[in-house]
């Protein structure tokens, strides 16, 4: 039994077995081997296992998403059979007497560099495929093989930290809790945990080398504690807590179907934030009046090329139809900063939070933007859609966006494709946008305040930097004043303003926000009924 403390980012208790996720980019260690032939045999066996994994992935993708997406796994299988690639690995083991993991990793780097240096965008993007197959081989070799989400039982996910592209691939019904060594309270792990209503601990000083998948653990998000290999008694105690929590949730269920109004009769739009089509179930389950922030990045993450207009259209349409006339606010692409995607070729930046991201990518690469806008305008026919644009700092950007929307609209008219122009708003998440919010309010239909980024830019605190968590004061007066300015600017021009950042879900501030005149709060689905309770008691 071993008790470790961490910082809870979502309360709750879980008991179950651990699955350790090892990062794909952990450095591979070089070591000398005595028997090169045995090491070569290990490589050949690993290639065979990797081929079998890819075949299963191919079959699964073929069944679920169709041939076009499945072909990627077929290509990976073919690459793993390549004579030059395999010979290079064998050769390095024989001549340098190194371990298989190292030989695979170096060969992968060499081949991937070769493709990265070609003057052909398509071939450059293949360097990610080489990295992918080499990473798969290394994971097979060192035993940290890919998780087979389909066949596994629900488990406690233990990792160093989780990247958005890792979380996007997870089967969320199989996750009991998250426990990570790194990450901050505003990291994606934290956001995901709040969305899914599962306990999560970050900053837990664990040695991942000594923790094995299959070990039992108790995660207590109230005490901020994880117990490895717990005693029978501790498990019983945890089970009792889980039951108690479930009863509290049951009580909140009585608020389903009730209106979100204060005692003096003011109605608040209480919406939910989600990040994938599958999350719509959480929205309905928790009886949110709509979706206030639908992060469209899920369509772009965890894949090797841009999603087509048709793929996007189908995804948006599905959400709009499922929400059956309730409001759905989709935020356009917010890639960059902490959300990196290989095929965008964004490159490394010294200061990514202030870098090439979100609307800045969309305005300089309008083809990417237009594809998304076309899909959105076409999907708007199927429900109550609003679109909002992230990271705005100027009126000129809004003008440019509106010009592009006009072009997209003209194209759809010319092709006689049915579409509808949705309500359009902007995210207020930079201090600049706050300062010119009156001018912006004239141009757009609504404001949605993204408090996470607004706080980071106003306080000059990187939200991914866990060392700064002690300086990070989400209740800073500057932020509350800014929210007031934004709400007043919107109302002056007859527009509405809401909050979709984490701050909107903080029950300590709900009353203040309502008094300020905030019209809409969009929060993690698990928070909807709690806030409804708070607002009805005001």
């Amino acid at each position: 039994m071993l008790k470790l403390q961490g910082k809870p980012v979502y309360k709750g208790v879980a008991v179950g077995s651990i699955v350790v996720l090892k990062g794909t980019d952990a450095p591979v260690k070089r070591s000398k081997v005595q028997d090169a032939q045995a090491e070569i045999a290990r490589v050949d066996a690993a290639i065979k296992t990797a081929q079998e994994q890819l075949q299963r992935l191919y079959d699964k993708a073929l069944k679920e998403v169709g041939e076009a997406s499945a072909a990627l796994f077929e290509v990976h299988q073919m690459m793993l059979e390549d004579d030059d690639y395999v010979d290079s690995i064998h050769n390095m083991i024989e001549t340098e007497q190194v371990n298989a993991e190292y030989a695979v990793s170096v060969t992968g780097d060499n081949f991937s560099a070769m493709f990265a240096n070609m003057d052909d965008e398509y071939m450059q993007a293949r360097s990610a495929d080489i990295k992918d197959i080499s990473g798969r081989l290394v994971r097979v070799l060192d035993g940290s093989a890919d998780i087979d989400w389909e066949s596994m039982d629900a488990a406690i996910i233990v990792a160093d930290d989780l990247s958005p592209s890792e979380t996007v691939q997870m089967d969320k019904t199989k996750i009991l809790a998250f426990v990570t060594v790194h990450g901050s309270t505003n990291s994606h792990t934290a956001i995901l945990a709040r969305m899914m209503n599962i306990p999560a601990l970050i900053g837990v000083p664990m040695d991942l080398e000594t923790i094995h998948s299959g070990d039992k653990a108790v995660v207590d998000g109230f005490a901020g504690e994880v117990i490895l290999e717990p005693t029978e008694e501790e498990c019983v105690k945890a089970e009792a807590k889980i039951k108690e929590e479930q009863e509290k949730v049951q009580l909140l269920q009585a608020l389903r179907g009730k209106e979100t109004v204060t005692r003096d009769g003011r109605a608040i739009k209480l919406y939910a934030n989600i990040g994938s089509v599958g999350d719509v179930g959480y929205v309905l389950e928790n009886d949110a009046a709509g979706i206030g922030l639908f992060r469209s990045e899920f369509l772009y993450l965890g894949r090797n090329n841009f999603p087509t207009e048709e793929e996007q259209f189908q995804a948006y349409k599905q959400v709009l139809q499922t929400m059956a006339g309730k409001k759905v606010i989709i935020r356009t692409l917010d890639i960059g900063a902490d959300k990196q995607v290989d095929y965008f070729n964004l490159g490394n930046e010294d200061n990514p939070a202030m870098g090439y991201r979100a609307i800045r990518i969309c305005l300089t690469q309008p083809d990417i933007f237009k594809t998304q806008l076309r899909a959105l305008l076409r999907a708007a026919v199927y429900g109550n859609l609003s679109v909002m644009y992230p990271m705005i700092i100027s009126v000129e950007e809004v003008d440019q966006i509106q010009a592009i929307v006009k072009q997209v609209e003209a194209g759809l008219i010319a092709e006689q494709i049915p579409y509808k122009l949705p309500e359009q708003g902007i995210m207020i998440e930079t201090p600049a946008a706050v300062m010119i919010s009156e001018e912006l309010a004239e141009k757009v239909d609504f404001f949605s305040i993204g408090t996470n980024d607004l706080t980071q830019y106003t306080l000059a605190i990187d939200r991914q930097n866990e060392k700064l968590d002690t300086f990070y004061n989400p209740y800073h007066k500057a932020i509350l004043k800014m929210i007031k300015i934004v709400v007043d600017s919107a109302h002056k021009h007859g527009k509405w303003a809401g909050i979709c950042g984490e701050l909107g879900a903080d029950p300590k501030l709900t009353e203040e926000f309502v008094r300020m005149g905030v019209d809409e709060l969009s929060v993690a689905p698990s928070m909807v009924l709690r806030l409804r309770k708070a607002i009805r008691e005001m």
Partner: protein, 85 residues
């Protein structure tokens, strides 16, 4: 030796999937099959070497087959290119 020229019609050029299928096809024959384009050459049985030639749409590839079954190999490759590239 048997040889033929072929102009690539596929929009992306010789991309990963057809290159992989090409390798499978080439391995069916005993003859040594070589692709030449852009001043580079690659054995038709080596996927990454073929891809790294970077053959684009509209470019010409010369396919050479040499060996016991070169007639069949050349005909087989020609049929493959017509159908896939």
């Amino acid at each position: 030796m048997k040889a033929f020229d072929y102009v690539i019609k596929d929009e992306i050029g010789i991309h990963a999937r057809p290159a992989g299928l090409l390798v499978k096809e080439a391995k069916k024959f005993e003859s040594t099959i070589t692709l030449k384009a852009n001043g580079k050459s690659a054995a038709a049985t080596k996927l990454m070497a073929i891809m790294s030639m970077g053959v684009k749409s509209g470019q010409t590839v010369t396919v050479e087959a040499e060996g016991a079954d070169e007639e069949a190999a050349s005909a087989g490759m020609q049929a493959f290119f017509e159908e896939n590239l």
